[in-house]
């Protein structure tokens, strides 16, 4: 196995553990729950084939689902996020989008990463919160919880960048 694969497997295990052991225990008025684990999908190389993204998104989501007893809900939302990722990357006109580069702050830049991660996390969270509650009644309330949780997740994702890619 090459170094890259081992790095990604480690990342996978770390994001899952951080999610189920720490993030799920953050209590902020009982409404906000950051979903940090999407970091794994965000950090896949820019040229990752789309079907690989989808399959890994499913694997990641279903593992989280098993820990929190919600089979299908996280899987569905992270697959949705993996599906949207290439569109967000293409729309952002980043150079080297066909190269094996990790889309991180250190590789591409802070403001690009903030937009990229922000949009994808928001898409994932809104999708997740509506699938979880399975109704559009209380639309504003659910939307607000999704957006608030997205902000928290984004903060954790950005902080993690400085821990993972230390110089």
């Amino acid at each position: 196995m090459n170094k890259g694969a081992i790095w990604y497997i480690t990342l996978f295990v770390v994001v899952v553990l951080v999610q189920v052991l720490f993030m799920n225990n953050i209590q902020f008025s009982g409404l906000v729950n950051p979903y940090f684990y999407v970091l794994f999908i965000l950090l896949m190389p820019l040229n990752t084939p789309r079907y690989v993204l989808l399959l890994l998104g499913f694997l990641l989501g279903i593992v989280i689902d098993i820990f929190v007893n919600t089979p299908g809900i996280h899987a569905s939302s992270s697959v949705f996020m993996a599906f949207m990722r290439p569109f967000v990357i293409n729309a952002s006109n980043v150079d080297d989008s066909d190269k094996m580069i990790i889309p991180s702050i250190s590789n591409i830049g802070f403001s690009w990463f903030l937009k990229y991660a922000g949009i994808l996390i928001m898409l994932h969270h809104v999708f997740l919160f509506f699938v979880e509650i399975f109704t559009f009644s209380g639309f504003i309330n659910t939307l607000m919880r999704a957006v608030l949780s997205s902000l928290f997740s984004l903060v954790f994702v950005v902080i993690s960048q400085f821990l993972i890619f230390r110089k």
Partner: protein
């Protein structure tokens, strides 16, 4: 044929996406039925082990609070024991009538959540300790949930904070009963439903389990009435109940089983067809 093949190849990502979503939706919908695929939940060995090790570390930091809780429980139990000793004639009579009506197994909460729509609790006891599905889970402050999945050493329980489940409860004074259901918002407040308008409900009145569902014994505390709403056009009043258990800090619980449950259910089944 060639055209169809080209079409499939061209849009293979979209088809894969739709296919996976279909799988996910199937999982979500099938999960609604009460008993589910046994490995897709947190009572399996791997997740159970991870949660158990983690909680071992976390509890170390809250030992002080746990000690206080246990000491308080001890005092309460000692006081009750004293009361029972004073009235021991009643006890023997009661025992003869209901020999060991409820069986209890103590367990530790190793995973728990309050901020989802459907919250679950994972316990560190399983079939090898005698835990079975449909056992009630009771904390030191009152009713907590019901066991749904059990593996050899772990079990998962539905928490009261799970809108897929309701507890049959009643008002302590008037004995009027109804389902107690969480609406998914505040993890400290649930709604007692189906209490008709003519029943006078006082704020602060105690709400306890009714014992009708055979999951909990009768009289386990659930909470106190927080507020009562009268809505135009509704047949029932809306009663908000403040839970007596703080679900954010659950540590030790008991899984209880009604020994005569099957007898009760069997008897009730007889009536269903009529």
């Amino acid at each position: 044929m060639r055209g169809l093949l080209n079409f499939l190849v061209k849009y293979h990502v979209l088809f894969l996406f739709l296919f996976i979503q279909l799988v996910c939706i199937t999982l979500i919908v099938r999960y609604n039925s009460f008993h589910r695929v046994n490995f897709l939940n947190s009572s399996n060995t791997v997740t159970g082990k991870i949660f158990e090790n983690y909680i071992g570390v976390v509890n170390y930091f809250s030992l002080r609070k746990i000690n206080d809780d246990l000491a308080r429980d001890n005092t309460l139990l000692r006081r009750e024991l004293q009361a029972v000793k004073l009235a021991d004639i009643d006890l023997t009579l009661e025992r003869r009538a209901n020999p060991d009506l409820f069986n209890a197994i103590s367990a530790q909460v190793i995973n728990n959540s309050v901020n989802k729509q459907y919250n679950y609790i994972t316990l560190n006891k399983g079939t090898s300790h005698g835990v079975k599905p449909d056992m009630g889970v009771i904390g030191s402050d009152g009713a907590v949930g019901v066991v749904i999945n059990v593996s050899k050493n772990y079990s998962t329980a539905l928490s009261i904070l799970n809108s897929r489940w309701s507890v049959s409860s009643k008002l302590e004074k008037s004995n009027h009963f109804g389902p107690l259901r969480w609406d998914g918002n505040d993890p400290g407040v649930v709604a007692l439903e189906e209490i008709p308008y003519h029943v006078h409900v006082a704020v602060g009145e105690k709400v306890i389990t009714s014992g009708y569902s055979a999951i909990f014994p009768e009289g386990i505390p659930v909470g106190k009435v927080k507020s009562v709403e009268h809505r135009e056009g509704d047949t029932f009043q809306k009663i908000w109940v403040e839970l007596s258990t703080d679900f954010r800090s659950l540590t030790f619980v008991d899984a209880v089983e009604n020994v005569n449950k099957f007898e009760q259910i069997e008897l009730e089944e007889l009536m269903k067809d009529e």
